[in-house]
């Protein structure tokens, strides 16, 4: 920084206040505009909690640190703002690990603060010491251990900057106990100086033109849109671009909501349990434009068969994703929104695609998602459709991981962005309930529906306590198939029906469990019961749990079997 002789308003008025590290943390969080902290106290963060005691930032006490971190993820997903977490050293910090890894794979902005033993005893296996820096190095975008209180304001500013810019991700800041206790001058941080971190936001115009040239000559183009579009808040640009260039659109699991499901150009979700039309388009395309997706293996199926005859263009803010899994002909590094803007500026013109669009439209009409309905048994797919109907398609849908997640993706079509909260990359069971809590806190006025499996629900069900405590009107719907359904499905299909430890018949009574947590609980075993109970639950002003007993042996179809190509889907038709 150069010497500025003109006294700016800032240098004149700001007297650096003296305070301890914990107050600095709270002060810095306020300046970052943090609205809510998800945390759990303990020895190494006592001073930090003491600073929080004076208020200023609401704190949500989850019942397990895993609850804190998934709640922060849910919050970040629906608001686009960073989720902030505080946990103590050792076990507090290690309990966060799953959620940090989840946020890393799903590119969610989190800033996680962990307490640490005092600097003098680091390395001595002190009480509640764990090397959270070492543990989280591969699952964070970056992490810091603060060695001196004077570094704290700078590190916090950098942590928020790194978490929220470029490709978002989790950043962890480990604060030894003596540092949070130490007195220092709080220095306001305006600029960050990170020469090693300069994400490319504006794409190269030449590359953008190449994409448009490819579109003009393509006969079978397809646009694959991932969560990058949502991070960039670029859904309107995406739609305009798809319409002007006449591109059929496939969403990834995490990209759902980035393109209106009812749009004639929409083909649905691609991948392992994606729609026939989406996978047909990805497989047969002569031009594949990926915007903001990372070619996850659940999307591509066997790479050997993926997009074999296609020219591949890949637009991504993270250059390391381009060419990582799929060889790319037209790499475009940049923010999805900026790329779409430039694509539109450069006047997209469609190729000769009428035939292709007609063919895909036909595939979509003839091969929709299907199931055998019943009047006696409650089919899980029917259940999701009912939820869709009764919420007018306008809820924020949060899921756990397993079959119910796939059914929710298939049977709850989304018209709007930021209403779909799910664990994609890591596939973390136990994510759903805490993530729904975080989503509701981020969007207090929205209707939040948590669609959970009975297995995953039991991994973090202690967080039910928060619904009553903070009066969060989340509608918790358990798709109860008395099994680890997705595991059971794979055992049925690929292990000759040897159901090793995937059937859990003796669940707790979930209605009583809800009541124990002082929220109403309902149960439904048939479609008519479900219809009645769901209406009642959705009319309830506060939180409610609905235990839905669905047909136990139901499978998710269609399916690309593991190791197969997208053209080798099974269960496409009844």
């Amino acid at each position: 920084m150069g010497v500025d002789l003109k006294p700016s308003a800032k240098t004149c008025t700001s007297v650096k206040p003296l305070m301890n590290g914990s107050r600095m943390l709270v002060e810095a969080l306020k300046r970052e505009g943090v609205e809510v902290i998800f945390g759990y106290p303990g020895g190494a963060v006592l001073t930090i909690y003491d600073a929080l005691y004076d208020g200023g930032i609401p704190h949500i006490l989850a019942r397990h640190e895993q609850g804190c971190i998934h709640a922060a993820e849910g919050y970040a997903r629906v608001t686009g703002k960073p989720g902030v977490v505080i946990a103590t050293s050792g076990p507090g910090a290690t309990n966060l690990v799953t959620g940090i890894a989840d946020a890393m794979l799903d590119s969610l902005p989190l800033v996680v603060f962990t307490g640490q033993v005092a600097t003098q005893v680091i390395g001595s296996d002190a009480f509640q010491e764990a090397s959270i820096i070492g543990i989280t190095m591969p699952i964070t975008k970056h992490n810091y251990q603060v060695r001196d209180v004077s570094e704290l304001p700078r590190i916090i500013r950098e942590a928020f900057h790194i978490a929220t810019t470029g490709r978002p991700g989790p950043v962890l800041v480990d604060i030894p106990k003596d540092v949070s206790n130490a007195m220092g001058w709080f220095e306001d941080q305006e600029e960050v100086h990170l020469p090693g971190y300069q994400p490319t936001v504006i794409p190269h115009r030449m590359q953008i033109r190449k994409v448009l040239d490819a579109i003009r000559t393509a006969k079978k183009p397809v646009l694959l849109a991932g969560a990058g579009v949502l991070h960039a808040r670029a859904q309107d640009l995406l739609r305009e671009f798809a319409e002007r260039a006449q591109l059929p659109v496939v969403n990834t699991l995490l990209g759902l909501g980035g393109f209106p499901a009812s749009h004639p150009l929409f083909l649905g979700m691609g991948g392992m349990h994606g729609s026939y039309a989406a996978n047909k388009a990805l497989y047969e395309a002569d031009l594949l434009i990926n915007i903001g997706a990372r070619f996850d293996d659940r999307l591509t199926g066997s790479l050997e068969h993926f997009a074999k005859s296609a020219t591949v263009a890949h637009i991504d803010i993270d250059p390391a994703e381009i060419g990582k899994n799929v060889p790319t002909d037209i790499p475009v590094v940049g923010d999805a929104g900026e790329a779409l803007k430039m694509l539109l500026e450069e006047r997209p013109e469609p190729g000769d695609v009428a035939e292709w669009l007609a063919e895909l439209g036909e595939a979509k009409r003839q091969r929709p998602f299907w199931y055998h309905d019943s009047d006696r048994e409650l089919k899980p797919q029917r259940l999701i459709q009912m939820i869709h109907e009764f919420t007018g398609g306008g809820a924020i849908v949060v899921t756990d991981v397993g079959q119910h997640q796939m059914w929710a993706a298939q049977f709850y079509p989304l018209e709007e962005p930021h209403r779909w909260v799910t664990s994609g990359g890591l596939g973390t069971m136990g994510f759903g309930l805490p993530a729904a809590i975080g989503a509701q806190l981020g969007r207090p006025d929205a209707l939040v529906v948590a669609v959970l499996g009975d297995g995953g629900f039991q991994m973090t069900m202690q967080e039910l306590a928060l619904l009553k405590e903070y009066n969060l009107p989340v509608k918790v719907i358990i798709v109860n198939n008395q099994a680890l359904g997705m595991v059971r499905q794979w055992q049925e299909l690929f292990y000759q029906g040897r159901y090793a430890h995937s059937i859990i018949p003796n669940l707790p009574d979930l209605v009583k469990l809800a009541e124990a947590y002082q929220i109403p609980g309902y149960r439904a075993k048939t479609p008519s019961e479900a219809s009645e109970v769901l209406r009642r639950a959705l009319a309830e002003p506060g939180p409610v749990l609905v235990d839905c007993w669905v047909t136990p042996g139901e499978n998710v179809y269609p399916m690309v079997p593991p190791g197969k190509g997208l053209h080798e889907m099974v269960g496409v038709t009844p």
Partner: protein, 176 residues
Amino acid sequence: MNRILSVVVNNRSGVLNRITGLFLRRGFNIQSLTVGTSETEGQSRMTIVLDVDDERTAEQVIKQLHKQIDVLKVSDITDQPIVARELVLIRVNSPLQTRSELTALIEPFRASIIDVSRDTVTIQAVGSPEKVDALIFLLHPYGIKELARTGLTAFVRGTDVAAEAPRPYRNRVLSI
């Protein structure tokens, strides 16, 4: 195939761990890695010799390195005119009868004897990895008791020199 990367990093605690951890996590193989201070205070220079199957992996390694916040610069210098050196210490059996023979043997390598005991001598040599390989090969028959190689450290030659270097030399590691 081998690629030589020259990487400038912030000299912060844990940075070596970040780099090696990245290689472990992504399953990239390191042939050698050297690190030490650079010309700029607060920055270290690493020379990483990678063993990769193809160009795409090499590219992926470079991109992943770039993603590290503490990595300031990554250059693949394999195909550039570079100076590349490695140091080796070799303790080799050397009863008095063979000692003069040994001294003559290592002479062309500009290696030197830096320690002597009753039955062994310790030889130090500096040079390209090929030169070091050759020296080790020649010393093998005498019985190598202990060996330590530093791994390669390298950077791009000064531009004026590079411009003067005859073309065939530009595309490989110079071994003078």
